[in-house]
């Protein structure tokens, strides 16, 4: 099993050292094992858990929600009903987001292909002209 120092984890996951310590303090991460000198040693399991936290944060889940999701992740069979329900709700949110992103990807891919193919004009500019640029403050 691999072991990582806090600095390595920070670089690997682009999370600050303070954030890593904070997650441990509030219990999002179980107490990280330490060397005799007191230096933290993160395991692969810790890394996996941190990656999950990062992904969930990108989906705008709160730290409290992430805590519940982690309980489900740890022991899906014995999770409490409310945690199961929360996970189900979050799954639905993720699916909606994936659908929206998929549509956006298709739209952007089409526009990029049109721009690449046409020397005389660019549909992206046509669309911006039609819809107008976002107002700036």
């Amino acid at each position: 099993m691999n072991s990582y120092a806090i600095g390595e984890v920070s670089r690997l996951l682009t999370m600050s050292v303070d954030t890593l310590r904070y997650y441990e303090k509030i219990g999002l991460l179980p107490k990280v094992s330490r060397k005799e000198s007191g230096i933290r040693c993160y395991s692969d399991k810790d890394i996996s858990r941190l990656k999950f936290i990062k992904r969930a944060q990108k989906m705008n889940f709160t730290l409290a929600e992430i805590g519940d999701l982690l309980k489900m992740r740890e022991d899906p069979q014995n999770a409490r009903n409310e945690v199961r329900q929360l996970t189900l709700n979050k799954l639905k949110e993720v699916e909606v987001r994936v659908t929206e992103l998929d549509t956006l990807r298709g739209e952007l891919a089409l526009l990029v292909n049109l721009c690449t193919a046409n020397k005389e004009g660019c549909p992206i500019i046509e669309i911006i002209d039609k819809d107008g640029l976002p107002k700036t403050v």
Binding site: G106, E107, L110, L111, N113, L114, A117, E120, P123
Partner: protein
């Protein structure tokens, strides 16, 4: 025998020469074969981008026959004719 209407959709953009050729080819082909049950329309992907994305159109011209994407570039006249006839035969066999 009732033959189901074949909808042909030509997804095009305003500055695409091949798109014009695709539309002309479809139009001429349907006239020549006298399939009066077949309807077709040209769709400008910039004006109907949501519709184009819903049909997974990524380039122009794209030709959709009976709801299925059949060509993502300008086909030869023969290939287009074959595709329409192929679809019509499926429709006919479904109606029998």
């Amino acid at each position: 025998m009732n033959v189901k209407t074949v909808d042909i959709e030509v997804f095009s953009s305003s500055v695409c020469n091949r798109c014009q050729r695709a539309s002309l080819m479809v139009s001429a082909l349907l006239e020549e074969q006298a399939f009066d049950t077949i309807t077709w329309r040209e769709i400008n992907v910039v004006e109907e981008i949501d519709y184009a994305v819903a049909h997974a159109v990524l380039s122009t011209p794209t030709i959709v026959i009976g709801g299925t994407q059949r060509f993502t570039t300008l086909p030869s006249e023969q290939k287009l004719r074959d595709a329409i006839q192929d679809y019509m035969s499926h429709v006919r066999s479904g109606n029998e």
